[in-house]
Symmetry: C2
Subunit: 120 residues, 2 copies
């Protein structure tokens, strides 16, 4: 399976999902699946900034003995974002509408992460 | 009601909750309620770093038109952390064990936030 197939499956399984990407911590997207209705969302711009913050969070959490950071979410008035760490270089990120199914999104990312990781 | 009463109520309502604080974005805690079993957790140290990251996230999200950031969570192998913005200066933060009730924690923070905000 290609990355795109996994990403499309994530978006199709979660109510309100807008887009899903495999991103590098350098801010470069490996692959993205985006719903047509999500074109207004500046996916790549937002996620580049999140990639940078996630790197800092990882470092912060490591120095604080709470174990490796596995998941980060950033929820705003319009968009919910769930990020799941794959490797020290890559993460999976899902954007949902604010009324989307956040719990299902977290679940689907968790089960999809090992499959995507196996192909990296 | 004092801050402490609200914070204690949050911790007591959520399975697996360890500690709850009202924090300033300057990293200074206004008030904290911590369960006895949570003494191992370096609450203040962790949250000072999160406060700093949250400030950057807020700025990133503002410039990206996804609306004001209302909630951020950082989940590691041992501890789940949910932060909810109160004002441009303060936020509410809840730490749970990794097997704690994350959804209930988000819900209780959301309903408690306006009450705490009213007293700031």
């Amino acid at each position: 399976m290609s990355f795109r197939t996994h990403l499309e499956a994530v978006v199709n399984q979660v109510d309100g999902a807008l887009a899903c990407s495999v991103m590098g911590f350098d801010g470069i997207s490996v692959d993205t699946f985006q719903k047509d209705e999500a074109t207004e969302l500046d996916v790549s711009g937002t996620w580049v900034e999140y990639a940078n913050l996630l790197t800092q969070l990882k470092n912060a959490a490591e120095s604080l003995k709470t174990g490796t950071v596995t998941e980060v979410s950033v929820n705003s008035e319009k968009v919910l974002t769930v990020m799941r760490l794959l490797t020290p270089e890559y993460f999976l990120v899902l954007a949902l509408r604010a009324d989307g199914n956040f719990g299902k999104g977290r679940y689907v990312l968790r089960v999809t992460a090992p499959q995507v990781k196996a192909e990296l």
